[in-house]
Each structure stands twice: as C-alpha cells, then as structure tokens.
Amino acid sequence: MKDGYYSIEQVFRIKAWDFASAGEASSQIKKILKQLGIDPALTRRVTIAAYEAEMNLIIHSVGGEMRLKVTPQSIIVTAEDRGPGIPDIALAMQEGYSTAPEIARELGFGAGMGLPNIKRCADRLNIQSSVGKGTLLEMYFDIKAG
C-alpha cells in the first residue's frame, strides 16, 4: 500500500427490482479500488462479492444500501437492507438453493450461487438477519503487505 493513504468510506443506495442499473455500485467499487492501487486479484474478489451482494439486494430485498470502507489493512463491503430477512441462513448459504422469483431466473439469476460465491471470495463473512426487519451482510478482505 502506498504512503499517504487514508481510510475512505462510500455509500451506495440500491433499489429493489432495479435490474437496469444492477452492477453500478460494484462497478464504482471496482473503480475506487483500482484508483487506490489495490492488487488486481484482490480487487476482482471484492467486486465479484460486491456484485453478488448487490444483486441479492435487487432481487430479494425491499431496498437497502451498500457501503465500501477501505483502511490500510482491509477492505470491508457491507450490504444492509430493510427486509424481508432470511429465515434460514444455513439453507441460503447452500449452493443451488435459491428463492429467486421467475422473473430473476429468466435473466440468468437465481442459480443459488450468490452467497456461496461471496463466501468463497471474502476472507471473512458475517451475516445477521431478522425476518421482517432486514439483513446485514459484512464482507471482510485483508490487504496483505506487499
């Protein structure tokens, strides 16, 4: 990591069912990380996880926001929504399990690989969900000293 580099934080609003602008937040995140000179392989992992989280908000939630935080040691991406919440997180983490509606499946989503992809990409993952209230997904990525 370069000297003279400060922590940054950026918030992105995600609207439910907004398939047309899907991927905008992840693209922004990717551009920011690129500008910060983050390692390209790490940037790819972060953006893939961010894209899956963004799609989850668009497909499954009533809307929410994503947050990118970069410190000298780590990159943290969070996705927080206002519902409907995940009744069974372990089941949602299973590859192939999906509750995506037909309209999302027609677009090529709903393979049941979103959360498993996120788990694979992130160094650490924290999900808290409460039915009727919402879900908080926190993804942590370590920046290794180069």
Binding site: F19, A20, S21, A22, G23, E24, S26, S27, K30, A41, R44, T47, I48, Y51, E52, M55, L107, G108, F109, A111, G112, M113, G114, P116, N117, R120
Partner: protein, 118 residues
C-alpha cells in the same frame, strides 16, 4: 489470440467495442447463469451467452472479459450496446449456435476456462 482473429475466422459481427478488437482472448466459457459466470469467470475470457440484457455488460466488465459472443443471431438492445461501448466491452454476434461457436473456438486453440480461483 486476438479477438479480431476470432472475428475474421468465424465471420462474427461486431456489435460493440470495435476499437478494442486487438484485445487478447485466452480462454472461453459458455453459460447463461450469471452467478456461475461470476464464479468461473476469468480475465481475458470469451463468453458465449444467449442472455442479452444489461447485466451481461456488468458481468463482463467486472470479470474483465475479452469479449461476449451472442449466438443464433439474437438481437441485442441498443441501450445494452451503448453501455458496452461505454464500459469498453466487445459484443459480438453470430448466426451459429453456442455449441458450434464453442467447438470452433476450441479448435482454434481457445482453452476452456480453468476452474482454479485466482
């Protein structure tokens, strides 16, 4: 192999990203489920898909693909192509099926995208 060589050899139509045709294509993948593509996608891969909505541009850009190839002469919306242009994504089209395209690219030396995570 340069994308332009694929375009010439298979008579592909260039729908977007003409100015990036000297980009290298190293591997290929054929899939219509975007999450699978995100999981397996490799930088510099050629992706064959029948999906033509806006999200293919986002996926191709995030994975940094060499190009997207739409089979069976399926039409792509102008808005999607404009977005592809803006993001520097090459979108190609062919009347061949995905199966034929993949077979021909394989014969030309495009390798299957490997499963290892980078």
């Amino acid at each position: 192999m340069k994308v332009s060589q694929m375009v010439d050899a298979l008579s592909l139509k260039v729908l977007a990203g003409e100015r990036f045709l000297d980009r290298e294509a190293e591997s290929g993948y054929c899939c219509d489920l975007l999450s699978r593509v995100m999981a397996k996608g490799k930088k510099g891969m050629a992706w064959i898909t029948v999906q033509t909505h806006m999200n293919i541009v986002a996926v191709a850009a995030l994975v940094e693909m060499a190009c997207v190839i739409i089979p069976e002469g399926i039409e792509v919306d102008r808005k999607v192509l404009d977005k592809a242009e803006e993001e520097g994504i090459i979108v190609l089209s062919s009347d061949l099926t995905a199966f034929e395209l993949a077979g021909k690219l394989y014969q030309m030396g495009i390798t299957p995208v490997c499963e290892a995570v980078d």
